[in-house]
């Protein structure tokens, strides 16, 4: 009831649970598509093509049943970076059409143009990465990376180990957070608080939380290793995962569409400008 509703779910990454055709795509297809998009976006140099990119992106968001506000909300965290980049581009691009000048600072039309393109590019990149992380659980992402990395395993790339680490980290982060809360409270009931007092006291306050936390985490790691061994874990060899990645025809189709679109984006550089 009320209590259950209040239970805040700790979520990692930005996964946005929904039933949608994008959610159900093979995560490998989504990773490859995103990488393709990011590459393609680098080549776009005109507003018309950016309009196409954004139209494609909005369509994908709609298919994924993700509110556009949420996807572009991720940009909010980058506002400072974006403004900074835009200003640098605006003021440090040389050009002939000087619009405004103050000492060494000159604002040119070319500068504005460049900075607008740069903003469009960055926002598009963030949005497309978001499209991947919003529609794919961290576990599915790590499975996909394991699968994509498997061909590299023979060169010593620890694909399985990375995936297992990811699984364990996801499982234990909430446990450790809860433990950290308990430790902080235990120390606070002895007056230990790193938010007040002299620098040495603050330092000691931090140590008093970090030491038990680390010590307990090591104990957990030790216990977990024994428990995994007891359940027959001997590494990735001969292991069959319950979670299965299934590459369906739709994944191929989606990837083909993306490939064609991205090819156009790349080619756009050499095509006559549309606008």
């Amino acid at each position: 009831m009320l209590m259950a509703a209040k239970k805040r779910q700790i979520r990692f990454g930005a996964y946005y649970p929904a039933e949608s055709p994008v959610h159900s795509l093979d995560p490998r297809a989504k990773i490859i598509a995103m990488l393709l998009f990011l590459t393609g976006i680098l080549f776009v140099e005109s507003y018309a093509w950016f309009a196409a990119v954004y139209a494609f992106g909005l369509l994908a968001l709609r298919l994924a049943r993700i509110p556009a506000g949420k996807a572009f909300g991720a940009v909010r965290g980058l506002v400072v970076l974006l403004i900074f980049t835009a200003l640098i581009n605006a003021f440090f691009t040389r050009g002939e059409m000087v619009l405004w000048q103050y000492g060494a600072l000159t604002l040119t039309l070319e500068g504005l143009h460049r900075s607008a393109l740069m903003l469009l590019r960055l926002v598009a990149m963030v949005a497309f990465s978001g499209l991947l992380t919003f529609t794919t659980t961290p576990i599915a992402l790590s499975d996909a990376l394991e699968s994509l990395g498997r061909p590299l395993a023979r060169f010593g790339f620890p694909a399985h180990e990375f995936a297992m680490m990811m699984t364990i980290a996801l499982r234990f982060i909430p446990v450790l957070l809860e433990e950290a809360d308990k430790i902080m409270k235990a120390q606070r009931s002895r007056g230990g608080d790193w938010r007040e007092g002299s620098l040495t006291r603050r330092m000691k306050g931090i140590i008093a939380v970090v030491v038990p936390l680390l010590f307990n985490a090591l104990k957990r790691a030790d216990d977990l290793a024994i428990a995994m061994e007891a359940r027959g874990y001997i590494g990735g060899k001969g292991r069959i995962s319950l979670r299965e990645l299934r590459w369906r025809p739709v994944d191929t189709a989606v990837l083909l569409v993306v490939l064609v679109f991205v090819a156009l984006l790349v080619a756009s550089r050499w095509l006559p400008p549309l606008w």
């Binding site: 909430p174 809860e178 433990e179 002895r190």
Partner: protein, 289 residues
């Protein structure tokens, strides 16, 4: 008056990522020197209540007073003021031990309060003597102690601050019978000498029955029962509804009474139950004659 709560609620805040059960409309008064047990199912709000009392969680409504200090005032009380009045010993000593030596661990609280070094040294020795922590153990690494010893060090590190109200979270878990008895005697003696008050959360109903004078029963965040412990265990229906078991001693005499024995049904400890049953057996014989 050691503690007064009126209309306190806490539905833990949005920013709290961890689960803490909510409590609603808690009102109670605890007098200085009382030993109060708190029971309830997991998630009933026991530990939320304990943390509210110690100022470790902010209340959403109502008032909490520790003696003359208001925890729910606009301006939160200073740590030094708070700690003198209430100290909490958590269930797992592993959640607090961090210093290189036992002495350093026990000295952490006083250091935070800015006591003078020679005063700290004196007080560390004093509390160690009171709790039976041997001189040579003070130099030991807390992580290398046994479970019972760790528990004692954690307790000492809070008791050294002489809090007027001591809150204990599951103090008996993992201790054997001898250690448990020792622990209880030690706490009782300390309370006597320091004129302090004890709140004790535990699932170990047999121990609570022997240790506490008054019992609070929490159920889904509400205070359902607040009575002297002997009467509290007569509220059989309510306790069952709240998922709280009766102490074995009480169960034994109640069941015998149900089987028609003329037995007194107010036993709290095994010794009391045994005495009552023996008396009833004798009385029964007398009837027979």
């Amino acid at each position: 008056m050691a503690l007064r709560m009126s209309g306190v609620c806490c539905t833990y805040g949005e920013n709290d990522a961890w689960r803490a059960a909510a409590v609603r409309d808690i009102s109670l008064t605890v007098e200085r020197g009382e030993i109060v047990g708190i029971v309830g199912h997991t998630g009933s709000g026991k530990s939320t209540l304990a943390q509210l009392v110690c100022g470790l969680l902010p209340a959403d409504c109502g008032e909490i007073w520790l003696e003359d200090l208001c925890l729910t005032a606009k301006k939160p009380p200073k740590a030094s003021e708070l700690i003198r009045r209430a100290g909490m010993v958590f269930q797992y000593p592993e959640h607090q031990l961090f210093a290189e030596t036992v002495a350093g661990e026990i000295a952490y609280g006083p250091e935070n309060l800015g006591w003078k070094p020679d005063e700290i040294q004196r007080e560390v020795r004093r509390i160690a003597a009171e709790l039976g922590i041997a001189e040579d153990m003070l130099a030991a690494n807390p992580y290398q102690l046994s479970g019972g010893e760790k528990r004692k060090v954690a307790l000492a590190s809070v008791l050294i601050l002489r809090p007027a109200l001591l809150v204990l979270d599951e103090p008996f878990v993992g201790l054997d019978a001898v250690a448990r008895q020792e622990f209880m005697d030690m706490l009782l003696k300390w309370r006597e000498e320091n004129d302090s008050t004890i709140l004790c959360i535990s699932h170990d109903i047999d121990q609570l029955a022997a240790f506490c004078r008054r019992l609070l029963v929490l159920c889904r965040g509400e205070l359902r029962l607040d009575m002297p412990v002997r009467q509290a265990f007569s509220q059989v229906e309510l306790l069952r509804e709240c998922g709280v078991e009766l102490p074995l001693a009480r169960r034994a005499v109640l069941e015998l009474a149900a089987r028609g024995w003329p037995v007194a049904t107010d036993a709290l400890t095994l010794a009391e139950a045994a005495a009552a049953i023996k008396a009833a057996a004798k009385g029964g014989d007398a009837d027979g004659c």
